[in-house]
């Protein structure tokens, strides 16, 4: 038995493997600009996308976290917890994010859904993405 009420307070324990970072740098990143320099209109009940942003990887089973920033809409970054749904411009449109990966590529999909009764205009957005990779324990 391991008393984690004590073990959890130490930085490492030789009995347990930690999660190690796959790349020399902490994360890998990529970006995609939506119609650079041009806003897009989305008709009622319609959507734009999926907009894929791809990041080369060097191993499968290795993504511990994917983050993105919608530059042009907001300054902070979001964590994709399985998927992401965000409402923008007073709920006139939604932005959804999903991702999957194989041995060489991580692909993040963005979809913009018109939720208004009319046409919505989506501003220029740069989809900045990055992923944390680790050496999977399996």
């Amino acid at each position: 038995m391991i008393d984690f009420s004590k073990a959890a307070r130490i930085s490492i324990a030789s009995g347990f493997k930690g999660t190690s970072i796959l790349t020399n740098s902490n994360s890998i990143s990529s970006f995609f600009s939506l119609s650079p320099g041009t806003s897009i209109n989305i008709l009622t009940g319609n959507f734009a996308g999926p907009i894929p942003v791809t990041i080369p990887t060097v191993n499968s089973n290795a993504a511990t976290q994917v983050q993105f920033q919608l530059s042009g809409l907001e300054s902070y970054w979001h964590v994709i917890n399985g998927n992401f749904v965000g409402n923008y411009s007073s709920n006139t449109y939604q932005i959804l994010a999903f991702y999957a990966y194989n041995a060489t590529t991580l692909t993040i999909y963005f979809i913009i859904v018109n939720q208004s009764a009319g046409t919505v205009t989506v501003p220029d957005i740069t989809f900045n993405c990055r992923a944390y990779l680790f050496i999977a324990p399996w």
């Binding site: 984690f4 490492i12 930690g18 983050q67 994709i80 979809i111």
Partner: protein, 262 residues
């Protein structure tokens, strides 16, 4: 600069350091199960499998799953859109998990009917899960492992800068200040006080079970849980249920903020 000074100045680049906590993997699980073909009504099927960790306690975890025998992988909770036609199908198939207070890990598969193509096919889900100790883990017996060496100085281990948990009982955001000056990796888990149905309204997470936030993110009628990160703070949007009630689901939210390696 001496070797020691250089080491101290670049602590985030060393394999591990006693100054910061690290993730502790206390077990690895895997399995396969099939979710039957859905029909147009109700539009989905579910299935689940359980594995007893033997811990008698919940813990953190990270899970991945594959529906093509391991060629491609998704993290738990994601539902990769079907882009085979001009109109993407958003809800396809996903796998999620939770660990109960009794230490039972449950993998839940959900398979949605494709209304666009009027089709539903059975899906075989292969999943893998790494279990991590939580900050308030008690005395447990970790699962046996075949790893010969636990730590290898060749690798740079994730270092935990901050970790703790807080009670969620209102609809107000909770901001945790880190002041790292960059956007860190942030992970979070949630334990609902009482059993809580996921935002898609299909499957219920038991009271006290440790679950990842994907249970409460998505296109349900309630607001999604979210983590917003800037160079100073991590802001946690409270868990909301699927019925758009004004207040979120009560429970305990755990968080870990990691140091970057660069």
């Amino acid at each position: 600069m001496s070797t020691l000074d250089n080491l101290i100045a670049n602590y985030s680049k060393v394999a591990y350091t006693s100054y910061f906590d690290s993730d502790k993997i206390i077990g690895v699980l895997s399995g396969t199960f099939t979710v039957s073909a859905p029909s147009a009504s109700p539009g989905y099927t579910t299935n689940n499998v359980t594995q007893d960790t033997g811990f008698g306690d919940s813990c953190y975890f990270q899970g991945i799953f594959s529906t093509d025998s391991g060629s491609s992988w998704n993290d738990f909770g994601t539902s990769v859109p079907n882009t085979s036609s001009a109109t993407p199908v958003l809800d396809t198939v996903t796998c999620q998990g939770f660990v109960t207070t009794a230490g039972i890990f449950t993998a839940v598969g959900k398979n949605w009917y494709d209304y666009l193509h009027s089709s539903g096919t059975a899906k075989t889900i292969l999943y893998k899960v790494a279990l991590f100790s939580k900050i308030n883990q008690g005395s447990i017996q970790p699962l046996p492992t075949n790893e010969e060496n636990y730590f290898d100085s060749l690798y740079n281990y994730h270092k935990i800068y901050l970790q703790d948990f807080f009670a969620v009982s209102t609809s107000a955001n909770t901001s945790i200040q880190h002041n790292l000056g960059y956007i860190p990796k942030v992970r979070s888990f949630f334990q609902p006080t009482s059993s809580s149905i996921g935002i898609d309204g299909i499957y219920t997470v038991p009271a006290g079970a440790m679950a990842t936030l994907d249970w409460w993110t998505g296109a349900g009628s309630g607001a999604s849980a979210d983590i917003q990160i800037d160079t100073s703070n991590a802001v946690f949007t409270p868990i909301q249920d699927s019925s758009s009630t004004p207040n979120g689901i009560n429970g305990t939210q755990h968080y870990l903020i990691y140091l970057d390696a660069q």
